[in-house]
Symmetry: none
Subunit: 196 residues, 4 copies
Amino acid sequence: MGRNKKEIIREAAIKVMAELGYHHSTTDRIAQEAGLAVGTIYNYFGNKEEILEYIFAVEVEKRQTAFEKQLQSEKPIFEKLEALLELHFSEIAKNIAAGQILVRERQHPGKKEANGISAFLDGVPQLIQALLDTALEQGEIRPGSTRLLAAAIFGAVQEVAATAVFSQDKQLQKEILENAASELVHFFSLGMKASP
Amino acid sequence: MGRNKKEIIREAAIKVMAELGYHHSTTDRIAQEAGLAVGTIYNYFGNKEEILEYIFAVEVEKRQTAFEKQLQSEKPIFEKLEALLELHFSEIAKNIAAGQILVRERQHPGKKEANGISAFLDGVPQLIQALLDTALEQGEIRPGSTRLLAAAIFGAVQEVAATAVFSQDKQLQKEILENAASELVHFFSLGMKASP
Amino acid sequence: MGRNKKEIIREAAIKVMAELGYHHSTTDRIAQEAGLAVGTIYNYFGNKEEILEYIFAVEVEKRQTAFEKQLQSEKPIFEKLEALLELHFSEIAKNIAAGQILVRERQHPGKKEANGISAFLDGVPQLIQALLDTALEQGEIRPGSTRLLAAAIFGAVQEVAATAVFSQDKQLQKEILENAASELVHFFSLGMKASP
Amino acid sequence: MGRNKKEIIREAAIKVMAELGYHHSTTDRIAQEAGLAVGTIYNYFGNKEEILEYIFAVEVEKRQTAFEKQLQSEKPIFEKLEALLELHFSEIAKNIAAGQILVRERQHPGKKEANGISAFLDGVPQLIQALLDTALEQGEIRPGSTRLLAAAIFGAVQEVAATAVFSQDKQLQKEILENAASELVHFFSLGMKASP
DNA sequence: AATGAATGAGCATTCATTCAT
DNA sequence: CATGAATGAATGCTCATTCAT
C-alpha cells in the first residue's frame, strides 16, 4: 500500500520533472499530478531532492542485475556491452520521460554520500571501466586508459539517448532507440574508419 | 569600457557558476565577485539566464573559427577532428571553471530561439555531423548514421572533459586534458578492439 | 483504563514539552513518547493546547487542597505561606520537567475561558492576594497594595523555581529547591535590610 | 536611512508581537504593519528570531547605562535599586507593547550565544546579584543567598510589570507602573511584616 | 477505542528584478 | 552609467487535525 503511494509519487514526479526540469518542478505540482496533497509526499520522501534521487535509484536498480550478470558472464566484451545497451535503450524506450531525466539532470550539489544520482552518474562509468579492465586483461581490447574510455562510452550513450528522448520526431526517436545499441557497439569496437 | 564591464561580469559569473552551479548562483554573489552592484549587471544583461548564454556564446565563438577552418580544409577527417579536440581541450585547460560550466549546465527550458547554450549543445553536434557527412562522401568513414555518431562523439568528448574538470587530482586532470584529443580520435577512428 | 491513557499522554507531553518547549513539541513526538498513535491523543484531548492546559490543571489541583486548607487555618500568614511554598517546591523537586513547563510556558493566546493555565498564572496570584487580604485585616502585614504584593510574590517564586529547574548543576538545583521556601518567606516577611 | 528602516521594523514588530505573541506573529504581518515588503525585513534581519532579539537588545540597552551608573555609585543599595526600577517601569509605561514582550516571551531555544534575550533574562538577574553582593559586603543587607534573592527580585519585578501591562484597566495600569518601584523596594527592604 | 496515513492551510525565507537617486 | 535598497511572487516544508479502517 505504502509502496504503491511512493510509486505514484515517483511516476508523477517523472512526468513533471521531465516536462519542467527538476528546478522548475514544484512539490505542489508533483502532488497535484499524483492526485495527492503536498504533505503526503513528505510522508514518503524527506525532501524534494530525495524524489529525484529515488527516480535515479529505481532506474539504476533496473539495470543493476543485468549489469552484474554481464560482468560475470564469459561472453566477449562487445557482446556484453551490447546486451547492456540493449537493455538501457529499451528501458528508455519504455519510459521516455524517465529517460529525459536520466539524461538531463546533473544535480550533485555536494555529491554527499552515495545517492541514486551519483550511483548513476559516477557508478555506471565505474562499472563500464571494470568491464573494460577485464577485457583488457583478456586481450580483447587495445591498451589504453580504460578510465577515459569508460567516460567516453558513458558520455556517448547518454548523448545518443538524449538525442532520442528530446527528439520531436517520434519515428526518428523510435529508430534511434532501436538501433543505438548495435550501432554504438560497432562504433566502440571498430571505430568509424573505412576499412582500407 | 562597456565591453570591459561585460567581460568582468562574465568572468565573475564563470567563477561563481562553476562553483555553485547555475541555479545556486545568485546575481548578488556574481555582482560581489565582479566588484559591482547588482543593478549594474542588468545594464549589460537582460536577466540571469543571459549571462549563462553569454558564457556559452563566448566559448562557442572561441571554437567557431577553428571549426570553420577545419571544415573547409582538405585534411583527412581524423586529422580535422583531432585539431578540433586539441583546441577544445586546450581551451578547457586554460579555464577549468568555464569547462565545468560547459559540461554541466543544461538549461534548455523551452529552448526558445537560438542562444549561446543551444549553439553549443545542439550546434556542435550538427557541426560534427557536417564533418562526418563530408567524410562519408569522401569514403573516409564507413556508412552509418552520422547523426547518431555525431551525438556519440559529442557526448564522449563532453564526458571526458567532465571527468577532467571535476577531478580533484590536478595531476590527473592535466594528463587527461593533454591526452584526451589523441586518445579519443584514436578511439573514434579504430575503436577499442584488439587487432587480430 | 481511559484515565490511565490520559495519564500516559500527560506524562509523555511533560517530558517532551519540558525538553522542546510547547511550540516545538509536535503531537507526533508526544505520541511516540507515549507509545501511542497520534490519533489516540485526540480521543483524550481536543487539541494540542488542551494537553498543556491539562498539565497545568493537574499541577494546580495538586496544590489546590493544600491552598484551601491553609487559607482556612488559623496559622500566622507567614507560616501559611511557608507551608504552601514548601509544598510547591517539593512538588517541583519531584518532577523537574513539570516544573520547567510551569515556569516557562505562558500561552494566553486570547486567555479565553478559564483553563488550567490561567488557573495557575492568574488564579495563584489571586489566591495569594486573598491570603494577604486576610492577613492585612488581621494586622499581620503592613498596609499596601495586596494585588501588587501578590504579583511580586508569585513572580519571585516562579523565577526562583525557574533558576532551579533550569540549572545544569544538579546539586545546586537540589539545594535551591530545599531552601527556597524558608528563604523566600524570610525575605517576604522581613526584607533584605540588615537590622540596625 | 537604514537605521530608520530597521527602527520602523522594530516598532512594527513590537506592535504585532505584543498583540499576537512571537509565535503567532508572521513576517508578512510585521511587514504589513511596517508598510514594507517582507523581503525588506530580511535586508535588516537574518530571520524572524533576530527581530525579537533586537527588540530585547534595544530595551536592554536603554537600561544598561543606568545600571552601570548605579552599580558604581555610592548610594545605599535600596536607593540604587529604586532608581533602577523607576527607570524600568517608566520605560515600560512609555511603551506598553514593548513591556508585554519583555514580560511574556521566553524563547531561549538553545540559549546559544549571547543574544538580546538572554542578555535580559539571564543578564539582569546577574546584575542584580552583583548589586546585592556589593551590598552584602557593605553590610547593608542580611546574609543570604544573593543568587536566590536576585532571582526573586527579578521575578517579582517581571510579574508586577506583567500585571500592569496586561491589565485592561488603563487607570490601574498607570497606577501600578507609577508606584511599583517604591512599593517593591519597600517590600524588598523591609518585607511585609507589620512592625511589632 | 486505537490507528496512522492523508490532509492542506500556513509560513519563513529566497532572490531575480526594478528604479529612484 | 552605477548603485543597492526595496520589492513580492514563488516555493519547500511543517504539523495539528481528521477519519476510514
